[in-house]
Amino acid sequence: MLCSLKRGTLKNVSNMPTIPQDDAFVLNEVKNACKNIFKCMQCGVCSGSCPSGRHTSLNIRKLVRKAAKTADVLHDEQLWMCTTCYNCQERCPRNIDIVDAVLMIRKVAVHEGIMHSEHRKVSELLLEHGHAVPIDKDNREKRIKLGLNELPETVHKYAEELEEVKILLTSCGFDRLLNRAGKKDAGSEEI
């Protein structure tokens, strides 16, 4: 399934306790998520505008075509090379919301248990601290040196406010979503 991936960069968690989904179901999910992709005439304005495509293997035109055809797009490493700069979406002559579609395809992928380990770590930081980038020792010191409070006026300073964020994320099932995406680090599984 993950033959298009560089070994060790993404993790397939098919061995985790998830409900197996057949490709038709997933393709339907992708199609529902980005209906207007089917308007694409493959003109290539998108890939010509793509800053990531200048330097990486991302070909957004081909990715859009793939998304319209097959659920394999969920396993395509290119899906995660988009910086969401919106150039392609701004310039598409058919007004396809390309970046919005990329975000929605990613969402289907994550819900299928496909997630970069780094993204899972960032998500765990949000769950634990309410910040995707929490404070560290160096920056506590920098804050004091600048004359700021050691902790910012955020959930870092107010425990009861952090508890609210945790309740929200748990209510939404965000913690269960991460558990579904497995607990092993990228590269530790056979792909």
Binding site: S52, T84, E90, T154, E160
Partner: protein, 296 residues
């Protein structure tokens, strides 16, 4: 005019606190009515959390907005990512009754309700539209004789359908804000190109991400400038810390000072570089600081 709350986000208070200090100093000096947004969290970051799970992204963003609604103040963001998340979430919750009802069911669990009666602002468009370059100019104590490479960052301008800031290909408002401080905004090739950090690329695919930063920095270096000025701490981190990461990978040392706009403005308003945390970048800004001190 409605007052503001300062939304800090994650990267500014926890990685570049100098930008937080600079923002506080500038807002006070310009007599802008802005209070802290106590208990705010991550926005949450649009490029990652929005694409992982929209209901939880919207619920946490909704909570941040509700904190400011309770104070009857608009939110002031100082980060393109926070602006993208909160402005988009605010718009979605205001305009889509189904999303609003669902999100309010989650928010009810913590005794909160989204009402939809405030706006989300970004400091660059706020300064330009609500304060204006003339008023800013009247507060300047030290005109800055600097050549600046401005970096707008993507999410300040795009998607343009929900930003209402005009042409995203050739914008000028940020350049005008730079020039009203006495500095020159220098044109350079690929000025509007992405820094490469967004969309979770920097966190998951660092090498690919840095190729984009490397390209942008190489173009800026050719323009012979004194510093890069941005509107977003994530671009700031990519262009500043990224220089060290690129040096480790390729041996190329750009050594370009990177400032958030509030830090540049702070210099023009008369604050010393150290008060604004300009000495706290990963890149050594020693020579730039010497130049500023000679100028002042």
């Amino acid at each position: 005019m409605k007052g503001l709350t300062l939304f800090l986000g994650c990267v500014i208070p926890n990685r570049y606190p100098g930008i937080e200090m600079a923002t506080r100093l500038c807002l006070a000096k310009l007599n802008i009515d802005c209070t802290d947004l106590e208990g705010a969290s991550c926005c949450p970051a649009p490029g990652v959390f929005r694409s992982f799970d929209e209901p939880s992204w919207l619920a946490v963003a909704g909570r941040n907005i509700v904190l400011s609604e309770k104070l009857q103040r608009d939110i002031l963001t100082i980060c393109n990512g926070c602006f993208a998340s909160l402005a988009d979430a605010n718009h979605m919750l205001k305009s889509d009754p189904v999303l609003r009802e669902r999100t309010n069911e989650y928010l009810a669990k913590i005794g909160k309700e989204f009402k939809g009666n405030i706006e989300v602002r970004h400091i660059i468009e706020y300064l330009y539209r609500d304060i204006g370059t003339d008023i800013i100019r009247s507060h300047i104590e030290k005109p800055l004789k600097l050549r600046v490479a401005v970096h707008y960052g993507c999410h300040l301008l795009k998607p343009s359908k929900s930003r209402e800031l005009g042409d995203s290909n050739r914008p000028e408002f940020f350049d005008e804000l730079i020039e009203c401080l006495g500095a020159t905004s220098v044109d350079y090739p690929d000025k509007m190109e992405c820094c490469g950090a967004g969309g979770g690329v920097r966190s998951a695919l660092k090498d690919e991400s840095l190729k984009m930063a490397d390209h942008k920095l190489s173009r800026i270096k050719e323009a012979v400038i004194d510093c890069i000025v941005n509107a977003c701490p994530f671009c700031h981190m990519q262009l500043d810390a990224g220089q060290e990461e690129i040096k480790q990978r390729t041996g190329v040392d750009y050594n370009i000072p990177v400032l958030h706009y509030t830090q540049l403005m702070g210099l023009a308003l008369g604050f010393p570089p150290e008060a604004l945390g300009i000495d706290l970048n990963v890149t050594n800004n020693g020579k730039f600081i010497e130049k500023i001190e000679e100028m002042l």
